[in-house]
Point group: C2
Chain length 377, copies 2
């Protein structure tokens, strides 16, 4: 049960998601609850679930929605949030994370979902799935709430690598554009490059170089480049995809979370302040819930690792059942759209930056190498 | 009227603030309105106001609160938001910004307030006021709303310089601690260093070096070092002062603004959605206002330039009268507390990093120079 290409009772194709049950703050019960939520909504999802069999068996057995739709893979070891990535890669072969990636590597599933340690998951993904030819730094694409018609913007890198040079940023633009096209159905996504001002003379030297590189690739890669954007444009309407290095992206992401949490706390206190405000809170309940739903990080949950031979959805470490279910929905949508193959084709046709011809796995492209815009071989 | 050391009608000392009327998005009328708000609340403020005399004269004359408390300095030229800093410094001698700084340089006022172009204001401040001995990179300290007892956290650098090495970050910690002690009355402020994770092995090499440098200075400089913090701690309660480079700080600041604006917009829409939600909005008006006041960037308005011979308060470019008045209040508090001298003493006694002895104006301290913690000469 659960192999790729299976069918559900109506005969439609079933897509199998490989799920790492362990490593999240809420433990495997939240992951299994999230799977049950998704299974109830979508009859076309199947699962391979990885973790300690004696823990997972009873959890799955309790959920009627999951009957006959889950293959269990016993993997007794767990990667913890405090494990160093390099240690995990050397010693993590018995872990649920490793096992979950193996299912993608073996072609049993096209997408893997994990709530675990981001650094370890990225390093393990790179080693097991390998980078796409021509890609030096894979990236994590994350979503921001926005007032754009699609209700979300994409930002990358959300924290896969604390460094990114001009060419990495240009590849992030290409990968982000591809994700926006497939994930949001945007024909010509608007791409912005994150900086401290919108004037072209501002910012670090590598950003000015990246600006010119991205501009040179916009037409051939079917996106619109809006130039430099600022922090306020991450949840704004000036563009659909924001490109930045993983350090800045990660700080911005957690800052946004922090401000959203502060405002939620302050609203809660304000509405508990007087009897009148408590009455208002009752009447406003639906309105407040609507806003919370829009900015709730759990609903936009799931960073996607881009630039690998296979797709990995990294769910928030603190994800509860709603968050896990949201990550599974994203994984399903991407599996169904054949996103991995489309992205690979886009990168292959648009960025022959690796002029050494060894597949880009180890060849560091030199920052001084100035063949940007030179898209023909 | 208006010279330092004047007295108000009760005989108490009056503090003179030097105000640049030009360069803000809302124009000089908003600046004069902000001055009037401050003058009404505080009889101990006097002003020297810089800008085109024929524009400012009538604006001041309309405000009864300002009668007899404003000295006008005619400066016909205006630094615009799009002027390049280097150009402004070469050609800006006739500008209101230059004139406003001259009043501080000449000792007529101890604090200057401007809404203008940040880059130009910082460069001009460095050239006219000069850096404190031993300081290589001055910083902009900005405020974040938080649930700490003082209701705000301090972050620096908010965007004075896009670069900062380990020693700059250590000096930011010292300056931020001094600001928190004088501005918030915190005896032993808690300092955090912004990174992508709280584990000590994470982040860029210069951040790990800065971590050790700051830790080595904590005891002698009377602050508690909490180690690495994340974006969510900027508006959080883990520390009172957050240290980061000006690129990351500026992106985080604008990201926080963007998220706050998005939530405000979504709340407005949600409360206009149905008749019931409109009624709830009426009842919740006071509660919502209370929250808005807490997170309103205009109320925490005013970044402070630290590390100069003189204090400069940079108000938000989009500041309205409330924002300008808030920046003036901050300027007054700092002038009254003798903050500039206290900070200079703290830096002089705690950071003899400049071992060349030429006053630190041009001596770049080498990143490899490892005499941290070596506080005695």
């Amino acid at each position: 049960m659960g192999a790729q290409g299976d069918q559900d009772m109506t005969g439609a194709a079933r897509f199998v998601i490989s799920v790492d049950a362990m490593g999240g703050d809420e433990g495997p019960a939240a992951v299994v609850a999230g799977m049950a939520l998704s299974a109830r909504k979508n009859p076309r999802i199947g699962f391979i679930l990885h973790g300690p069999g004696d823990t997972l068996g009873p959890l799955v057995a309790k959920r009627r929605e999951l009957a006959g739709r889950v293959t269990l893979r016993d993997a007794p070891e767990v990667v913890s949030m405090t494990d160093k990535p390099a240690h995990v890669v050397r010693h993590g072969q018995g872990s649920s994370m490793w096992s979950a990636l193996e299912s993608v590597r073996a072609g049993e599933a096209t997408v893997c979902v994990s709530c675990g340690n981001t650094g370890a998951l990225m390093l393990m993904s790179v080693i097991r799935l390998r980078k796409l030819p021509g890609i030096y730094r894979p990236a994590i694409a994350v979503m921001w709430p926005s007032q754009n018609p699609q209700q979300h913007n994409i930002m990358l890198d959300g924290g896969a690598d604390i460094r990114a040079d001009a060419k990495d940023l240009m590849q992030y633009a290409l990968m982000g554009a591809s994700y926006a096209r497939n994930g949001f159905g945007l024909k010509c996504p608007r791409i912005g490059l994150l900086n401290v001002g919108t004037e072209e003379h501002k910012g670090r030297a590598e950003l000015r170089e990246a600006h010119d590189l991205i501009a040179a690739n916009a037409a051939s890669a079917d996106f619109e480049f809006v130039g430099f954007v600022e922090g306020r444009d991450l949840p704004g309407t000036r563009c659909d995809v924001i490109v930045t290095d993983g350090f800045t992206g990660n700080v911005a992401l957690k800052t946004g979370e922090g401000i959203a949490n502060l405002i939620t706390d302050l609203l809660r206190e304000a509405f508990a302040y007087t009897p009148l405000s408590r009455l208002a809170a009752l009447l406003a309940y639906t309105s407040l819930r609507r806003v919370k739903k829009r900015v709730d990080p759990r609903r936009a949950n799931g960073g996607v690792f881009l630039g690998l031979n296979g797709t990995v959805v990294k769910s928030h470490g603190a994800a509860d059942a709603t968050g896990v279910s949201s990550a599974i929905k994203l994984a399903f949508d991407l599996a169904q759209s054949g996103f991995t193959e489309k992205l690979a084709n886009r990168v292959a046709s648009a960025t022959p930056l690796d002029i050494t011809g060894n597949g880009g796995e180890d060849a560091r492209h030199d920052t001084g190498d100035d063949n940007h815009g030179d898209l023909a071989p």
